[in-house]
Amino acid sequence: MIELGHISVFLAMAACLASAIFSVMGKSQETNRAMLFAMGATTFAFFVLVRAFLGSDFSLELVVNHSHSLKPVFYKFAGTWGNHEGSMLLWCLITIAFGTVAVCVMRPSELKTKAIGVQGGLAFLPLVYLLFASSPFTRLETAPFDGSGLNPLLQDPALAFHPPFLYLGYVGFSFVFSLAAAGLILNEVGPEWAKRARPWALFAWSCLTIGISLGGIWAYYELGWGGWWFWDPVENASLMPWLVGAALVHSIIVTQKRGSMASWTVFLSVLTFCLSILGAFLVRSGVLTSVHAFALDPERGRLLLIGLLLVSGFAFSLFAWRGPGLKAGSEFDPISREGALILNNLFFSVAAATVLVGTLYPLAMEVVTGDKLSVGSPYFDLTLAPLMGVLFLAPPIAQAMTWRAASLSPVLKRLIVAGALAVAAGVAGFILLAGKLWAVFGVAVGVWLIAGTITDLIKRLGEGGLSRLPKLSLSVWGLTIAHVGLGLFVIGAVVETNGRIERTFAMAQNEVVELGNWSFAFNGVEGVEGPNYYSDKASILATNGNRKTELTPEKRYYPASGMPTTEVAIRKSFAGDLYVALGDPIRGEKTGWTIRISINPMIDFVFGGVSLIAIGGFLAFAGQRRKRASPPSTETVPAE
């Protein structure tokens, strides 16, 4: 069975190559069929690997290293992609799946044939890498009695779904890349191209948003540090395609509606996927030392880098060849919706470049001068917060502007209420947050975003009022929900970061400590046994006036992999999350445990806001799909 899976990966590789070749020859039927064949073969291979994990087939090296017979079934399943080789197979599967979806949903055209061929090429490269540098189907000569388990930190529901969503995002951009390459080859980049590419970009970007936020949620409750974003190089690697993708889903609107910015949009389409591969390279090569780089292997890193150079070299050559000849599109005044969206793209791009430079700078300095230095959260906070602060002032103004040319005074007049609310929120924040200016500015920006977006919604409702709500297009809903979500996120992020209180206590049994308005009584620790771990479980009674709640943080030890994990205890309260993590035992003069307690205000705004951004993205995607299903005649651009 395992060997059949291995063989089918070879077949998939051949089919992908065939699809690319047929595409060059202009044979659309054969291109499609080869892609469908690759889909069947890769699905089979993936199924074989899943089966090996579920059945704990310890003749497979990968299963031995990353699974254990006592592991819960769900994590055996998720363990399939919780390792380098399996996740690369998932990458290939998703690449081919996007190609297959394209075969099924796109209307036949030359663009389709070319794009699917390019997609075949994009699947061919990682399949070669998979087979020759990181095969998941390597057998052991003698099968051991049991496996060494999955990294227990990764045995978590949020993290089980983190890689698939991240890859749907990363790899989703591969088809946007393929469409861009096909558009450049055929010299067809324009409004019609943008209309076809836009749903793919929205879908990939929304999936990436979910993938990143699952990682943040996981970090919040699993790592025990109370934070949700650490500016770790691996997080930065996923943020870069997200930022460029955010620029893309905005610029592509301009290209679709007005034909302008076509070459910039196509450039972003190519860049987003290149940054996705760069992210995979940074994470997988271990070139950046980081807590997440669990697969350190320079050989693999080199191959991934070659892949990145091939893909980006191909795309940027195409761009250099066709880019200068692209049509300029309709003219527009600097003060217009187009102008505002250019500013949006300017800030998103500078932010992405800053993350890129900050992440690679230590590496570059070490190579060039030999000096080792670190670039961490103080740098990114101080550079990105002002950039994003200014960027997030823009959406309400941009949404109120007309296309081609706009006058500012009616726009600003309409936003007076939103502006007043933002100022009021700033004043309230100034009092509540003890005058932390950045935080005050952040709260005001968040309220401005929400109030401005709702102002825009009211304008779109027009005279019909609320009765027109159901008639609004899904795209309008997507825009509204995503921008409100962004506002909530900004408020949550600044309040949480600036208002969080945290302390580490050395607590003896029955000791009581105070933090915020709460007192915490430590009732001791008991030993507990789980399905595949032992655990020290503490009992802490938190009291605030009449409110009492028991918190039971744990420290788990997984014998199979010999690693401890912290299981924090979290209780929602009005003031924020009560967040308690159990540290190490203390012996000697004072016996007890180190216990870390924090109160994290408005943390739900952070995760809730990001979820709304993703939901907004999916709604916009659905809106674009629906529009494509209806006759295209309504899409005419008015005469110039």
Binding site: G227, E331, L346, V375, P378, W403, R404, R460, K590
Partner: protein
């Protein structure tokens, strides 16, 4: 011996009596990198050396050192690697200037392009006021 070290590490996490000093120490602890861990500030690390480094930060703040003096102290012992906030001088200058320089440069280029277009004396453009065009994003 080991137990004594663990005890020292645990006890060193006692906060400073002065709330203002403690707040400064907390911020510094988030900016100083644990030397035995991978990419963790000492505020987050459970390792012994991070505990000792936290203790050192608090002691120095207590003795009246400024934030910059604490950073310099650690950089002198462990190298610039230990600071998550790269120095503005020397190799860090480019890094800190980069985002804002890039923003100004591109914004300037865009502005010049707009002006060049305006100078061509084209007729003024009118807004598109088509409701369908507006509501169908």
């Amino acid at each position: 011996m080991i137990e004594a070290l663990i005890l020292a590490a645990a006890l060193s996490d006692a906060p400073l009596a002065d709330a203002g000093m403690e707040a400064r120490a907390q911020i510094l602890m988030r900016e100083i990198r644990c030397v035995s861990c991978e990419n963790e500030p000492i505020s987050q690390s459970a390792s012994e050396i991070a505990g000792d480094m936290r203790h050192l930060v608090r002691m120095q703040i207590k003795d009246g050192a400024s934030d910059e003096e604490v950073r310099t102290y650690f950089a002198a012992r462990y190298g610039d690697f230990v600071l998550f906030r790269p120095k503005v001088s020397g190799g860090g200058a480019f890094l800190w200037a980069f985002p804002f320089a890039l923003l100004l440069w591109v914004a300037g280029a865009l502005f010049m392009a707009m002006r060049a277009r305006k100078n061509r004396n084209k007729p003024a453009l009118s807004p598109i006021k088509d409701v369908d065009h507006e509501n169908d994003i």
